[in-house]
């Protein structure tokens, strides 16, 4: 059952992700991204990372996509239809980089079979719940959590500085 569901969801995720790349209209790409995010969050649920699954939707589908769509609308993108300066050099750089990424992905897939999977014992059903995420985040990973706070502060300041118009006081 899980396997069948996994295959269906994975196919949806990959197809939607491909569609993001194929679409010429950036708004359609953004729409397709919603599908990818939703499929990914189902995959997280299947990995028992329930909290992460919900956060995936809150942050990506809820917040980041709104920002994307605002930017697309702000730039009035459909009219210009992707007028990126075609830089030949970058294109040649892209091919080896893509090859490297692909090789890396294959390496991970190949290596992952050797790694012992963490086994969920019968009693440990709390794994992946909000409770266990909280316990981990606020005890073991306290420093990364506070660093994330600083990162958010930087993002906030960056947003304010970037969005300030000339002539604003």
């Amino acid at each position: 059952m899980e396997k069948a569901l996994f295959i269906i969801i994975a196919v949806i995720a990959v197809a939607a992700a491909l569609n993001v790349l194929i679409q010429r209209n950036p708004l359609y790409s953004a729409l397709s991204l919603i599908g990818t995010m939703a499929a990914l969050s189902v995959l997280y649920v299947m990995l028992r990372a329930q909290f992460i699954a919900a956060v995936q939707i809150v942050v990506y589908a809820g917040a980041i996509l709104v920002l994307f769509i605002f930017v697309i609308m702000l730039l009035n993108a459909p009219k210009q239809q992707l007028q990126i300066d075609k830089q030949k050099g970058l294109r040649y750089l892209a091919i080896p980089l893509a090859g490297l990424l692909l090789a890396e992905a294959f390496y991970v897939v190949w290596r992952v079979q050797d790694i012992a999977m963490p086994v969920v014992k019968e009693g440990e059903e709390a794994v992946g719940t909000t409770w266990s995420v909280g316990v981990a985040l606020f005890t073991h990973y306290l420093l990364p959590f506070q660093v994330a706070g600083v990162l958010l502060l930087m993002a906030l300041i960056g947003a304010v500085v970037l969005a300030r118009r000339e002539g604003d006081k």
Partner: protein
């Protein structure tokens, strides 16, 4: 029929909390609900498509602009304010997401958790104050 009722009652007599034996199974109803929720508007629109009458007329297909012919394109550039709001929302949304697990285990963390969260919120309040001072929260 009795057999059917017996199996159904067996299913429903289990309290929802007992579903933790397989946490991901609890999400199957949500997926079913999602599929039905997608199907519902599509079917309703299909029914409506079969029933409604169509009269083609050019005027009707114009965007509404209080009876006047539309002037210019609607997809104009709009105020950068909306963009700032979206970015600020992103930052604060992530902050709120961090608060959820904190609230759930707060009784275990006690004073430690309070100090931790005061530091975290304090860092963000600095940014909030900065945004306020720089007028990012003004709308005019």
């Amino acid at each position: 029929m009795i057999q059917m009722m017996a199996i159904l009652l067996q299913a429903q007599s289990r309290p929802p909390a007992a579903q933790s034996d397989a946490p991901i199974f609890g999400y199957i109803p949500i997926i079913i609900f999602f599929l039905i929720a997608v199907l519902l508007p599509v079917v309703l629109l299909g029914v409506s498509r079969l029933l409604h009458r169509r009269v083609f007329e050019r005027e009707k297909l114009m965007p509404y602009e209080c009876g006047i012919d539309p002037i210019g394109d609607a997809r104009e550039r709009f105020s950068v304010r909306f963009y700032i709001v979206a970015m600020l929302f992103l930052v604060f949304d992530v902050e709120v997401v961090f608060l959820f697990p904190w609230a759930v285990i707060y009784d275990k963390l006690a004073l430690f958790g309070l100090v931790e969260m005061l530091i975290f919120i304090g860092i963000l309040v600095v940014g909030y104050y900065y945004a306020w001072r720089k007028g990012a929260l003004e709308w005019a």
